[in-house]
Protein backbone atom coordinates (compact mmCIF):
# COMPACT_ATOMS: atom_id res chain seq x y z
CA UNK A 1 0.00 0.00 0.00
CA UNK A 2 2.75 2.35 1.00
CA UNK A 3 4.70 1.37 -2.07
CA UNK A 4 1.84 2.39 -4.35
CA UNK A 5 1.46 5.80 -2.74
CA UNK A 6 5.16 6.48 -3.18
CA UNK A 7 5.13 5.51 -6.83
CA UNK A 8 2.32 7.96 -7.64
CA UNK A 9 4.19 10.67 -5.79
CA UNK A 10 7.31 9.70 -7.71
CA UNK A 11 5.56 10.06 -11.04
CA UNK A 12 4.14 13.49 -10.21
CA UNK A 13 7.48 14.66 -8.86
CA UNK A 14 9.26 13.26 -11.89
CA UNK A 15 6.92 15.05 -14.29
CA UNK A 16 7.34 18.39 -12.49
CA UNK A 17 11.11 18.11 -12.56
CA UNK A 18 11.24 17.04 -16.19
CA UNK A 19 9.01 19.98 -17.16
CA UNK A 20 11.36 22.27 -15.26
CA UNK A 21 14.32 20.75 -17.10
CA UNK A 22 12.52 21.44 -20.40
CA UNK A 23 11.97 25.05 -19.35
CA UNK A 24 15.71 25.35 -18.76
CA UNK A 25 16.68 23.81 -22.11
CA UNK A 26 13.95 25.15 -24.42
CA UNK A 27 15.47 28.65 -24.84
CA UNK A 28 18.45 27.01 -26.54
CA UNK A 29 16.14 24.97 -28.77
CA UNK A 30 14.31 28.18 -29.67
CA UNK A 31 17.53 29.56 -31.12
CA UNK A 32 18.02 26.31 -33.02
CA UNK A 33 14.45 26.49 -34.33
CA UNK A 34 14.79 30.09 -35.50
CA UNK A 35 18.09 29.35 -37.24
CA UNK A 36 16.34 26.73 -39.43
CA UNK A 37 13.35 28.94 -40.15
CA UNK A 38 12.35 30.86 -43.21
CA UNK A 39 13.00 34.59 -42.80
CA UNK A 40 9.56 35.53 -44.16
CA UNK A 41 7.82 33.31 -41.62
CA UNK A 42 9.71 35.09 -38.85
CA UNK A 43 8.77 38.50 -40.23
CA UNK A 44 5.11 37.50 -40.29
CA UNK A 45 4.69 35.37 -37.18
CA UNK A 46 7.78 35.93 -35.04
CA UNK A 47 10.22 33.37 -33.64
CA UNK A 48 8.92 29.82 -33.46
CA UNK A 49 10.36 26.84 -31.65
CA UNK A 50 9.46 24.57 -34.56
CA UNK A 51 10.10 26.11 -38.00
CA UNK A 52 7.03 26.48 -40.20
CA UNK A 53 9.18 25.83 -43.24
CA UNK A 54 12.51 24.14 -42.81
CA UNK A 55 15.00 26.47 -44.43
CA UNK A 56 18.81 26.51 -44.64
CA UNK A 57 19.09 29.99 -46.18
CA UNK A 58 20.46 31.46 -42.95
CA UNK A 59 23.29 28.94 -42.80
CA UNK A 60 24.04 29.39 -46.48
CA UNK A 61 24.17 33.15 -45.95
CA UNK A 62 26.42 32.90 -42.89
CA UNK A 63 28.73 30.33 -44.46
CA UNK A 64 28.98 32.22 -47.75
CA UNK A 65 32.03 33.85 -46.33
CA UNK A 66 33.26 31.58 -43.56
CA UNK A 67 36.69 33.20 -43.25
CA UNK A 68 35.84 35.35 -40.25
CA UNK A 69 34.12 32.68 -38.21
CA UNK A 70 36.88 30.18 -38.98
CA UNK A 71 39.48 32.73 -37.90
CA UNK A 72 37.62 33.28 -34.61
CA UNK A 73 37.44 29.53 -34.12
CA UNK A 74 41.16 29.22 -34.80
CA UNK A 75 42.11 31.97 -32.34
CA UNK A 76 39.80 30.55 -29.67
CA UNK A 77 41.05 26.98 -30.07
CA UNK A 78 44.67 28.17 -29.87
CA UNK A 79 44.28 30.27 -26.75
CA UNK A 80 41.98 27.77 -25.05
CA UNK A 81 44.38 24.85 -25.47
CA UNK A 82 47.51 26.88 -24.76
CA UNK A 83 45.89 28.74 -21.88
CA UNK A 84 44.53 25.57 -20.27
CA UNK A 85 47.89 23.83 -20.51
CA UNK A 86 49.85 26.78 -19.14
CA UNK A 87 47.35 27.44 -16.33
CA UNK A 88 47.42 23.83 -15.16
CA UNK A 89 51.22 23.69 -15.42
CA UNK A 90 51.93 26.89 -13.50
CA UNK A 91 49.20 26.16 -10.94
CA UNK A 92 50.84 22.83 -10.17
CA UNK A 93 54.28 24.43 -10.20
CA UNK A 94 53.42 26.76 -7.33
CA UNK A 95 50.99 24.40 -5.55
CA UNK A 96 53.65 21.72 -5.06
CA UNK A 97 56.24 23.79 -3.13
CA UNK A 98 53.61 25.30 -0.83
CA UNK A 99 52.19 21.84 -0.17
CA UNK A 100 55.56 20.85 1.38
CA UNK A 101 55.29 21.54 5.09
CA UNK A 102 59.03 22.07 5.48
CA UNK A 103 59.31 24.76 2.81
CA UNK A 104 60.77 27.91 4.29
CA UNK A 105 58.52 30.87 3.60
CA UNK A 106 55.45 28.95 2.39
CA UNK A 107 53.31 31.15 4.62
CA UNK A 108 54.58 34.25 2.84
CA UNK A 109 53.38 32.81 -0.46
CA UNK A 110 50.03 31.74 1.04
CA UNK A 111 49.41 35.22 2.41
CA UNK A 112 50.42 36.73 -0.90
CA UNK A 113 47.77 34.61 -2.60
CA UNK A 114 45.13 35.39 0.03
CA UNK A 115 45.64 39.14 -0.23
CA UNK A 116 45.31 38.93 -4.00
CA UNK A 117 41.91 37.25 -3.47
CA UNK A 118 40.70 39.95 -1.12
CA UNK A 119 41.93 43.05 -2.86
CA UNK A 120 42.62 44.09 -6.41
CA UNK A 121 43.84 47.16 -8.21
CA UNK A 122 40.69 47.29 -10.28
CA UNK A 123 39.96 47.63 -13.97
CA UNK A 124 41.73 50.88 -14.85
CA UNK A 125 45.20 50.16 -13.39
CA UNK A 126 45.08 46.64 -14.89
CA UNK A 127 44.12 48.13 -18.25
CA UNK A 128 47.03 50.59 -18.11
CA UNK A 129 49.42 47.79 -17.11
CA UNK A 130 48.35 45.49 -19.94
CA UNK A 131 48.29 48.13 -22.65
CA UNK A 132 50.92 50.73 -21.71
CA UNK A 133 53.55 48.60 -19.99
CA UNK A 134 53.16 45.01 -21.19
CA UNK A 135 51.67 45.81 -24.62
CA UNK A 136 49.46 42.72 -24.55
CA UNK A 137 46.65 44.44 -26.42
CA UNK A 138 45.98 43.11 -29.91
CA UNK A 139 47.97 39.96 -29.17
CA UNK A 140 46.66 36.49 -28.43
CA UNK A 141 48.56 36.58 -25.12
CA UNK A 142 45.90 38.83 -23.62
CA UNK A 143 43.67 35.74 -23.36
CA UNK A 144 46.37 33.67 -21.69
CA UNK A 145 48.75 35.64 -19.48
CA UNK A 146 46.63 38.05 -17.34
CA UNK A 147 44.30 35.17 -16.38
CA UNK A 148 47.08 32.59 -16.02
CA UNK A 149 46.79 31.91 -12.29
CA UNK A 150 43.93 31.87 -9.82
CA UNK A 151 44.47 31.53 -6.06
CA UNK A 152 41.36 29.32 -5.90
CA UNK A 153 42.87 26.71 -8.20
CA UNK A 154 46.25 26.93 -6.47
CA UNK A 155 44.71 26.29 -3.05
CA UNK A 156 42.57 23.51 -4.48
CA UNK A 157 45.62 21.77 -5.90
CA UNK A 158 47.74 22.41 -2.84
CA UNK A 159 45.09 20.76 -0.65
CA UNK A 160 45.14 17.73 -2.94
CA UNK A 161 48.95 17.51 -2.96
CA UNK A 162 49.19 17.77 0.80
CA UNK A 163 46.78 14.85 1.16
CA UNK A 164 49.12 12.54 -0.76
CA UNK A 165 51.11 10.35 1.65
CA UNK A 166 54.30 12.05 2.71
CA UNK A 167 56.29 8.83 2.62
CA UNK A 168 56.21 8.75 -1.20
CA UNK A 169 58.16 11.97 -1.49
CA UNK A 170 60.45 10.99 1.38
CA UNK A 171 61.27 7.65 -0.22
CA UNK A 172 62.05 9.29 -3.54
CA UNK A 173 64.28 11.83 -1.81
CA UNK A 174 66.40 8.97 -0.42
CA UNK A 175 66.98 7.74 -3.93
CA UNK A 176 68.48 11.13 -4.60
CA UNK A 177 65.69 12.40 -6.82
CA UNK A 178 65.45 16.16 -7.18
CA UNK A 179 62.22 17.92 -6.25
CA UNK A 180 61.49 18.75 -9.87
CA UNK A 181 61.89 15.07 -10.79
CA UNK A 182 59.62 14.02 -7.91
CA UNK A 183 57.14 16.66 -9.05
CA UNK A 184 56.69 15.41 -12.58
CA UNK A 185 57.49 11.70 -12.09
CA UNK A 186 55.42 11.08 -8.94
CA UNK A 187 53.19 13.97 -7.92
CA UNK A 188 51.71 14.81 -11.32
CA UNK A 189 50.76 11.21 -12.23
CA UNK A 190 49.13 10.77 -8.82
CA UNK A 191 47.13 13.97 -9.12
CA UNK A 192 45.14 13.26 -12.28
CA UNK A 193 41.72 13.87 -10.63
CA UNK A 194 42.49 17.39 -9.44
CA UNK A 195 44.38 18.22 -12.64
CA UNK A 196 41.42 17.07 -14.74
CA UNK A 197 39.02 19.17 -12.66
CA UNK A 198 41.10 22.33 -12.95
CA UNK A 199 41.81 21.70 -16.64
CA UNK A 200 38.11 21.33 -17.44
CA UNK A 201 37.13 24.42 -15.45
CA UNK A 202 39.88 26.46 -17.13
CA UNK A 203 38.93 25.11 -20.55
CA UNK A 204 35.31 26.20 -20.17
CA UNK A 205 36.37 29.58 -18.80
CA UNK A 206 38.78 30.21 -21.68
CA UNK A 207 36.31 29.05 -24.33
CA UNK A 208 33.80 31.58 -23.03
CA UNK A 209 36.15 34.59 -22.92
CA UNK A 210 34.81 37.75 -24.55
CA UNK A 211 35.65 40.57 -22.12
CA UNK A 212 39.32 40.52 -23.15
CA UNK A 213 38.33 41.11 -26.77
CA UNK A 214 36.00 43.94 -25.80
CA UNK A 215 38.74 45.70 -23.82
CA UNK A 216 41.95 44.94 -25.63
CA UNK A 217 41.39 43.81 -29.23
CA UNK A 218 40.88 46.21 -32.13
CA UNK A 219 42.28 43.84 -34.73
CA UNK A 220 39.24 41.82 -35.82
CA UNK A 221 41.39 38.83 -36.81
CA UNK A 222 42.20 38.30 -33.13
CA UNK A 223 38.78 38.44 -31.50
CA UNK A 224 37.53 35.44 -29.56
CA UNK A 225 34.63 33.36 -30.81
CA UNK A 226 32.22 34.64 -28.15
CA UNK A 227 33.06 38.26 -28.91
CA UNK A 228 32.70 37.55 -32.61
CA UNK A 229 29.16 36.40 -31.83
CA UNK A 230 28.58 39.49 -29.73
CA UNK A 231 29.61 41.76 -32.61
CA UNK A 232 27.29 39.82 -34.89
CA UNK A 233 24.38 40.88 -32.68
CA UNK A 234 25.32 44.52 -33.25
CA UNK A 235 26.37 44.22 -36.91
CA UNK A 236 23.23 42.53 -38.12
CA UNK A 237 21.20 45.07 -36.16
CA UNK A 238 23.06 47.74 -38.10
CA UNK A 239 22.35 46.15 -41.45
CA UNK A 240 18.72 45.79 -40.44
CA UNK A 241 18.42 49.41 -39.38
CA UNK A 242 19.71 50.49 -42.76
CA UNK A 243 17.08 48.32 -44.42
CA UNK A 244 14.34 49.58 -42.15
CA UNK A 245 15.21 53.13 -43.11
CA UNK A 246 14.30 52.08 -46.61
CA UNK A 247 17.77 52.06 -48.13
CA UNK A 248 16.66 49.29 -50.40
CA UNK A 249 13.79 46.90 -50.03
CA UNK A 250 15.53 44.29 -52.16
CA UNK A 251 18.38 43.75 -49.70
CA UNK A 252 15.92 43.50 -46.86
CA UNK A 253 14.77 40.29 -48.43
CA UNK A 254 18.17 38.98 -49.43
CA UNK A 255 19.71 39.42 -45.96
CA UNK A 256 18.00 36.98 -43.61
CA UNK A 257 19.05 39.03 -40.60
CA UNK A 258 16.99 37.38 -37.85
CA UNK A 259 17.65 33.79 -38.85
CA UNK A 260 21.28 34.47 -39.75
CA UNK A 261 21.92 35.86 -36.30
CA UNK A 262 20.61 32.70 -34.69
CA UNK A 263 22.42 30.48 -37.18
CA UNK A 264 25.63 32.21 -36.16
CA UNK A 265 24.84 31.54 -32.49
CA UNK A 266 24.32 27.85 -33.26
CA UNK A 267 27.57 27.65 -35.22
CA UNK A 268 29.43 29.27 -32.32
CA UNK A 269 27.81 27.61 -29.34
CA UNK A 270 26.37 24.42 -30.80
CA UNK A 271 29.42 22.17 -31.09
CA UNK A 272 30.66 22.85 -27.58
CA UNK A 273 27.23 22.58 -25.98
CA UNK A 274 27.26 18.86 -26.75
CA UNK A 275 30.65 18.44 -25.09
CA UNK A 276 29.83 20.29 -21.88
CA UNK A 277 27.54 17.67 -20.29
CA UNK A 278 30.56 15.37 -20.18
CA UNK A 279 32.38 18.03 -18.18
CA UNK A 280 29.67 18.04 -15.53
CA UNK A 281 31.25 15.58 -13.14
CA UNK A 282 34.48 17.58 -13.02
CA UNK A 283 32.57 20.72 -12.13
CA UNK A 284 30.68 18.92 -9.41
CA UNK A 285 33.96 17.52 -8.14
CA UNK A 286 35.42 21.02 -8.13
CA UNK A 287 32.58 22.17 -5.89
CA UNK A 288 33.14 19.46 -3.35
CA UNK A 289 36.91 19.91 -3.20
CA UNK A 290 36.69 22.32 -0.31
CA UNK A 291 39.24 23.03 2.36
CA UNK A 292 40.73 26.13 0.85
CA UNK A 293 41.98 27.25 4.25
CA UNK A 294 45.47 28.74 4.47
Amino acid sequence: MIKKRISIGQIVLGIIMVLLACAVIIPFLLILGVSFSNEQDIMLNGYKLIPEHFDLTAYKYVLQNPRDILQAYKITIIFTIMGTFLTVFFTALIAYPISRRDMVGRNIISYMLLISMLFSGGLAPTYILNTRFLHLNNTIWIYIIPSLLSPWYIFMMRTFFSQLPDSIVEAATIDGASQIRIFYKIIIPLSKPVIATIAVMTFVGKWNLWYESLLYIDDYTKVSLQYFLQRMMKNIALIKEMNDMGMSMSTAITIPSETARMAMAILVAGPILFVFPFFQKYFVKGLTVGGVKG
Binding site: G122, P125, L149, I174, I180, L287
Partner: protein
Protein backbone atom coordinates in the same frame (compact mmCIF):
# COMPACT_ATOMS: atom_id res chain seq x y z
CA UNK B 1 60.69 0.02 8.57
CA UNK B 2 58.89 2.91 6.98
CA UNK B 3 59.71 5.16 9.90
CA UNK B 4 63.34 4.21 9.60
CA UNK B 5 63.32 5.23 5.97
CA UNK B 6 61.70 8.51 6.77
CA UNK B 7 64.20 9.23 9.51
CA UNK B 8 67.05 8.30 7.23
CA UNK B 9 65.67 10.50 4.49
CA UNK B 10 65.60 13.43 6.85
CA UNK B 11 69.30 12.92 7.52
CA UNK B 12 70.12 12.53 3.88
CA UNK B 13 68.28 15.65 3.06
CA UNK B 14 70.18 17.56 5.69
CA UNK B 15 73.48 16.17 4.46
CA UNK B 16 72.59 16.60 0.82
CA UNK B 17 71.97 20.25 1.57
CA UNK B 18 68.86 21.76 3.09
CA UNK B 19 69.68 24.82 1.09
CA UNK B 20 69.53 22.92 -2.18
CA UNK B 21 66.14 21.48 -1.23
CA UNK B 22 64.72 24.90 -0.35
CA UNK B 23 66.32 26.31 -3.45
CA UNK B 24 64.59 23.76 -5.63
CA UNK B 25 61.19 24.51 -4.08
CA UNK B 26 61.63 28.26 -4.44
CA UNK B 27 62.95 27.77 -7.95
CA UNK B 28 59.66 26.11 -8.87
CA UNK B 29 57.57 28.78 -7.16
CA UNK B 30 59.59 31.69 -8.57
CA UNK B 31 57.78 32.23 -11.87
CA UNK B 32 54.24 32.01 -10.45
CA UNK B 33 55.24 34.33 -7.59
CA UNK B 34 56.61 36.79 -10.14
CA UNK B 35 53.30 36.55 -12.01
CA UNK B 36 51.38 37.49 -8.87
CA UNK B 37 53.68 40.44 -8.24
CA UNK B 38 53.14 41.74 -11.78
CA UNK B 39 49.45 41.00 -12.36
CA UNK B 40 48.08 41.30 -8.87
CA UNK B 41 50.32 43.66 -6.92
CA UNK B 42 51.50 46.14 -9.56
CA UNK B 43 47.89 47.18 -10.32
CA UNK B 44 47.42 47.76 -6.58
CA UNK B 45 50.18 50.35 -6.72
CA UNK B 46 48.47 51.72 -9.82
CA UNK B 47 45.80 52.99 -7.44
CA UNK B 48 47.94 56.14 -7.16
CA UNK B 49 46.28 57.05 -10.47
CA UNK B 50 43.11 57.71 -8.45
CA UNK B 51 44.87 60.62 -6.71
CA UNK B 52 46.13 62.11 -9.96
CA UNK B 53 44.67 63.58 -13.09
CA UNK B 54 45.84 60.86 -15.45
CA UNK B 55 46.95 61.97 -18.85
CA UNK B 56 47.86 59.38 -21.53
CA UNK B 57 50.75 61.46 -22.81
CA UNK B 58 52.27 62.23 -19.42
CA UNK B 59 51.86 58.70 -18.03
CA UNK B 60 51.39 57.70 -14.39
CA UNK B 61 54.48 59.46 -13.08
CA UNK B 62 54.12 62.62 -15.13
CA UNK B 63 50.46 63.34 -14.36
CA UNK B 64 49.83 65.93 -11.65
CA UNK B 65 48.44 65.13 -8.20
CA UNK B 66 44.89 66.25 -7.49
CA UNK B 67 44.39 64.78 -4.01
CA UNK B 68 40.92 63.42 -3.31
CA UNK B 69 39.19 65.30 -6.12
CA UNK B 70 38.20 62.13 -8.03
CA UNK B 71 36.73 60.51 -4.93
CA UNK B 72 34.82 63.68 -4.06
CA UNK B 73 33.46 63.90 -7.58
CA UNK B 74 32.08 60.36 -7.49
CA UNK B 75 30.80 60.41 -3.92
CA UNK B 76 28.93 63.67 -4.50
CA UNK B 77 27.48 62.63 -7.86
CA UNK B 78 23.97 61.41 -8.46
CA UNK B 79 25.34 58.42 -10.34
CA UNK B 80 26.89 57.10 -7.17
CA UNK B 81 23.54 56.69 -5.47
CA UNK B 82 21.97 54.99 -8.49
CA UNK B 83 24.87 52.68 -9.21
CA UNK B 84 25.39 51.60 -5.59
CA UNK B 85 21.66 51.12 -5.05
CA UNK B 86 21.35 49.00 -8.21
CA UNK B 87 24.35 46.85 -7.35
CA UNK B 88 23.20 46.08 -3.81
CA UNK B 89 19.50 45.67 -4.56
CA UNK B 90 20.02 43.45 -7.59
CA UNK B 91 22.52 41.28 -5.75
CA UNK B 92 20.15 41.01 -2.78
CA UNK B 93 17.39 39.87 -5.15
CA UNK B 94 19.76 37.35 -6.73
CA UNK B 95 20.89 35.91 -3.41
CA UNK B 96 17.37 35.48 -2.04
CA UNK B 97 15.91 34.00 -5.25
CA UNK B 98 18.82 31.68 -5.95
CA UNK B 99 18.83 30.32 -2.40
CA UNK B 100 15.10 29.58 -2.42
CA UNK B 101 14.97 28.12 -5.94
CA UNK B 102 18.09 25.98 -5.54
CA UNK B 103 16.85 24.67 -2.20
CA UNK B 104 13.49 23.71 -3.72
CA UNK B 105 15.15 21.97 -6.65
CA UNK B 106 17.53 20.12 -4.33
CA UNK B 107 14.71 18.94 -2.05
CA UNK B 108 12.65 17.72 -5.01
CA UNK B 109 15.70 15.91 -6.37
CA UNK B 110 16.32 14.36 -2.98
CA UNK B 111 12.88 12.80 -3.08
CA UNK B 112 13.37 11.25 -6.51
CA UNK B 113 14.28 7.58 -6.15
CA UNK B 114 15.74 7.00 -9.60
CA UNK B 115 19.43 7.92 -9.61
CA UNK B 116 19.48 7.93 -13.40
CA UNK B 117 16.69 10.49 -13.57
CA UNK B 118 18.45 12.67 -10.99
CA UNK B 119 21.62 12.63 -13.06
CA UNK B 120 19.80 13.48 -16.29
CA UNK B 121 17.95 16.33 -14.58
CA UNK B 122 21.14 17.71 -13.08
CA UNK B 123 22.77 17.70 -16.51
CA UNK B 124 19.98 19.81 -17.98
CA UNK B 125 19.84 22.21 -15.03
CA UNK B 126 23.60 22.76 -15.21
CA UNK B 127 23.75 23.39 -18.98
CA UNK B 128 23.21 27.20 -18.78
CA UNK B 129 26.16 27.37 -16.40
CA UNK B 130 28.50 26.35 -19.22
CA UNK B 131 27.54 28.97 -21.80
CA UNK B 132 28.93 32.48 -21.98
CA UNK B 133 26.86 35.58 -21.32
CA UNK B 134 27.06 36.33 -25.04
CA UNK B 135 24.99 33.24 -25.68
CA UNK B 136 22.72 34.07 -22.74
CA UNK B 137 22.13 37.49 -24.30
CA UNK B 138 21.04 35.76 -27.53
CA UNK B 139 18.63 33.54 -25.63
CA UNK B 140 17.11 36.50 -23.78
CA UNK B 141 16.90 38.40 -27.06
CA UNK B 142 15.02 35.53 -28.67
CA UNK B 143 12.45 35.76 -25.89
CA UNK B 144 12.24 39.54 -25.52
CA UNK B 145 12.71 40.79 -29.07
CA UNK B 146 9.89 43.38 -29.30
CA UNK B 147 8.85 42.39 -32.85
CA UNK B 148 9.42 38.65 -33.03
CA UNK B 149 10.09 37.50 -29.45
CA UNK B 150 8.19 34.72 -27.74
CA UNK B 151 7.17 36.94 -24.81
CA UNK B 152 5.33 39.45 -26.97
CA UNK B 153 3.72 36.69 -29.05
CA UNK B 154 2.22 35.34 -25.84
CA UNK B 155 1.15 38.77 -24.59
CA UNK B 156 -0.47 39.52 -27.94
CA UNK B 157 -2.35 36.24 -27.87
CA UNK B 158 -3.64 37.09 -24.40
CA UNK B 159 -4.72 40.45 -25.74
CA UNK B 160 -2.50 42.41 -23.40
CA UNK B 161 -0.28 43.77 -26.12
CA UNK B 162 3.48 43.63 -26.53
CA UNK B 163 6.06 45.48 -24.51
CA UNK B 164 9.18 47.20 -25.84
CA UNK B 165 11.32 45.33 -23.29
CA UNK B 166 14.69 46.94 -24.02
CA UNK B 167 13.38 50.40 -23.23
CA UNK B 168 11.30 49.66 -20.11
CA UNK B 169 13.48 49.66 -16.98
CA UNK B 170 10.75 48.53 -14.60
CA UNK B 171 10.73 44.92 -15.85
CA UNK B 172 14.48 44.40 -15.68
CA UNK B 173 15.01 43.58 -12.00
CA UNK B 174 12.72 40.59 -12.54
CA UNK B 175 14.16 39.65 -15.93
CA UNK B 176 17.75 39.75 -14.68
CA UNK B 177 16.82 37.77 -11.57
CA UNK B 178 15.24 35.05 -13.71
CA UNK B 179 18.30 34.97 -15.97
CA UNK B 180 20.64 34.78 -12.98
CA UNK B 181 18.68 31.96 -11.36
CA UNK B 182 18.40 30.14 -14.69
CA UNK B 183 22.18 30.26 -15.09
CA UNK B 184 23.18 29.45 -11.52
CA UNK B 185 20.46 27.21 -10.08
CA UNK B 186 21.92 23.98 -11.44
CA UNK B 187 25.27 24.37 -9.76
CA UNK B 188 23.89 25.59 -6.48
CA UNK B 189 21.22 22.88 -6.25
CA UNK B 190 23.92 20.24 -6.81
CA UNK B 191 25.68 21.63 -3.74
CA UNK B 192 22.56 21.51 -1.59
CA UNK B 193 21.72 18.07 -2.98
CA UNK B 194 25.14 16.77 -1.95
CA UNK B 195 24.55 18.18 1.55
CA UNK B 196 21.11 16.52 1.72
CA UNK B 197 22.60 13.19 0.69
CA UNK B 198 24.90 13.50 3.66
CA UNK B 199 22.03 13.75 6.15
CA UNK B 200 21.75 10.67 8.37
CA UNK B 201 18.53 8.82 7.40
CA UNK B 202 18.05 7.37 10.89
CA UNK B 203 17.20 10.91 11.95
CA UNK B 204 13.79 10.82 10.28
CA UNK B 205 13.01 7.11 10.39
CA UNK B 206 11.50 7.65 13.83
CA UNK B 207 9.49 10.60 12.57
CA UNK B 208 8.17 8.53 9.65
CA UNK B 209 6.97 5.83 12.05
CA UNK B 210 5.22 8.52 14.07
CA UNK B 211 3.34 9.45 10.92
CA UNK B 212 5.10 12.64 9.90
CA UNK B 213 4.61 13.45 6.23
CA UNK B 214 7.26 14.45 3.70
CA UNK B 215 6.68 18.17 4.13
CA UNK B 216 7.00 17.97 7.90
CA UNK B 217 10.17 15.88 7.65
CA UNK B 218 11.66 18.32 5.14
CA UNK B 219 10.76 21.35 7.19
CA UNK B 220 11.66 20.06 10.64
CA UNK B 221 14.55 17.71 9.95
CA UNK B 222 16.14 18.05 6.49
CA UNK B 223 16.40 21.83 6.23
CA UNK B 224 17.70 22.36 9.77
CA UNK B 225 20.32 19.68 9.08
CA UNK B 226 21.78 21.54 6.09
CA UNK B 227 21.01 25.04 7.34
CA UNK B 228 24.62 25.87 8.08
CA UNK B 229 25.61 25.21 4.45
CA UNK B 230 22.69 27.28 3.15
CA UNK B 231 23.63 30.17 5.42
CA UNK B 232 27.32 29.94 4.58
CA UNK B 233 26.64 30.05 0.83
CA UNK B 234 24.35 33.05 1.29
CA UNK B 235 26.92 34.79 3.45
CA UNK B 236 29.63 34.17 0.86
CA UNK B 237 27.33 35.71 -1.75
CA UNK B 238 26.74 38.68 0.54
CA UNK B 239 30.53 39.09 0.65
CA UNK B 240 30.37 39.86 -3.07
CA UNK B 241 27.31 42.10 -2.89
CA UNK B 242 29.28 45.13 -4.04
CA UNK B 243 30.43 43.45 -7.24
CA UNK B 244 28.14 43.40 -10.25
CA UNK B 245 28.21 40.54 -12.75
CA UNK B 246 29.51 42.49 -15.75
CA UNK B 247 28.38 40.04 -18.44
CA UNK B 248 24.85 39.95 -17.08
CA UNK B 249 24.40 43.69 -16.75
CA UNK B 250 26.28 44.68 -19.90
CA UNK B 251 25.44 41.98 -22.46
CA UNK B 252 22.03 40.69 -21.45
CA UNK B 253 20.60 44.22 -21.32
CA UNK B 254 22.20 44.90 -24.75
CA UNK B 255 23.89 47.81 -22.92
CA UNK B 256 20.71 49.77 -23.53
CA UNK B 257 21.12 53.28 -22.02
CA UNK B 258 17.35 53.44 -21.50
CA UNK B 259 17.70 50.77 -18.83
CA UNK B 260 20.63 52.31 -16.92
CA UNK B 261 18.37 53.60 -14.16
CA UNK B 262 18.01 50.02 -12.89
CA UNK B 263 20.72 48.01 -14.67
CA UNK B 264 23.77 50.24 -14.27
CA UNK B 265 25.98 48.67 -11.58
CA UNK B 266 29.40 49.60 -10.21
CA UNK B 267 31.22 47.36 -12.69
CA UNK B 268 29.46 48.67 -15.80
CA UNK B 269 29.92 52.23 -14.54
CA UNK B 270 33.65 51.70 -13.97
CA UNK B 271 33.90 50.20 -17.45
CA UNK B 272 32.13 53.09 -19.16
CA UNK B 273 34.08 55.68 -17.21
CA UNK B 274 37.29 54.07 -18.47
CA UNK B 275 36.42 53.06 -22.04
CA UNK B 276 33.77 55.57 -23.06
CA UNK B 277 34.50 58.71 -21.03
CA UNK B 278 38.24 57.87 -21.04
CA UNK B 279 38.49 59.15 -17.48
CA UNK B 280 41.19 56.82 -16.18
CA UNK B 281 41.59 58.54 -12.81
CA UNK B 282 37.89 58.61 -11.97
CA UNK B 283 37.52 54.97 -13.02
CA UNK B 284 40.48 54.02 -10.80
CA UNK B 285 38.99 55.91 -7.86
CA UNK B 286 35.63 54.14 -8.16
CA UNK B 287 37.35 50.79 -8.60
CA UNK B 288 39.38 51.53 -5.48
CA UNK B 289 36.28 52.29 -3.42
CA UNK B 290 34.68 49.10 -4.73
CA UNK B 291 37.75 47.07 -3.84
CA UNK B 292 37.94 48.47 -0.29
CA UNK B 293 34.24 47.96 0.41
CA UNK B 294 34.38 44.50 -1.19
CA UNK B 295 37.36 43.55 0.96
CA UNK B 296 35.61 44.70 4.14
CA UNK B 297 32.47 42.79 3.13
CA UNK B 298 34.44 39.57 2.56
CA UNK B 299 36.26 39.91 5.88
CA UNK B 300 33.05 40.59 7.80
CA UNK B 301 31.12 37.77 6.14
CA UNK B 302 34.07 35.44 6.57
CA UNK B 303 34.05 36.23 10.27
CA UNK B 304 30.30 35.58 10.37
CA UNK B 305 30.55 32.20 8.64
CA UNK B 306 33.30 31.15 11.02
CA UNK B 307 30.99 31.99 13.92
CA UNK B 308 28.42 29.59 12.46
CA UNK B 309 30.83 26.81 11.64
CA UNK B 310 34.50 26.94 12.61
CA UNK B 311 35.56 24.76 9.66
CA UNK B 312 34.12 27.03 7.02
CA UNK B 313 35.26 30.38 5.78
CA UNK B 314 38.01 31.48 3.49
CA UNK B 315 40.74 32.54 5.89
Amino acid sequence: MKEAIIKKSGKIRRRGGKLAYQGELWGMAALPVLWFIIFSYLPMFGITIAFKNYNYRKGIFGSEWVGLKNFEFFLKSNDMLIVVRNTILMNALFIASLTICALLVAIFMYNIRSRKLVKALQTSYITPNFVSYVMVAYVVYAVLNPQYGIANQLLNKLGIGGVDWYSQPKYWPIILTIVHVWKAVGMRSVMYYAALMGVDETLFEAAEIDGANKVQITYHILIPEILSIIVIMAIMDIGGIFRGDFGLFYLVTQDSPLLYSVTDVVDTYVYRTLMESNNVSLSTAIGFIQSVVGCIMVLVTNFASKKIDGDLGLI
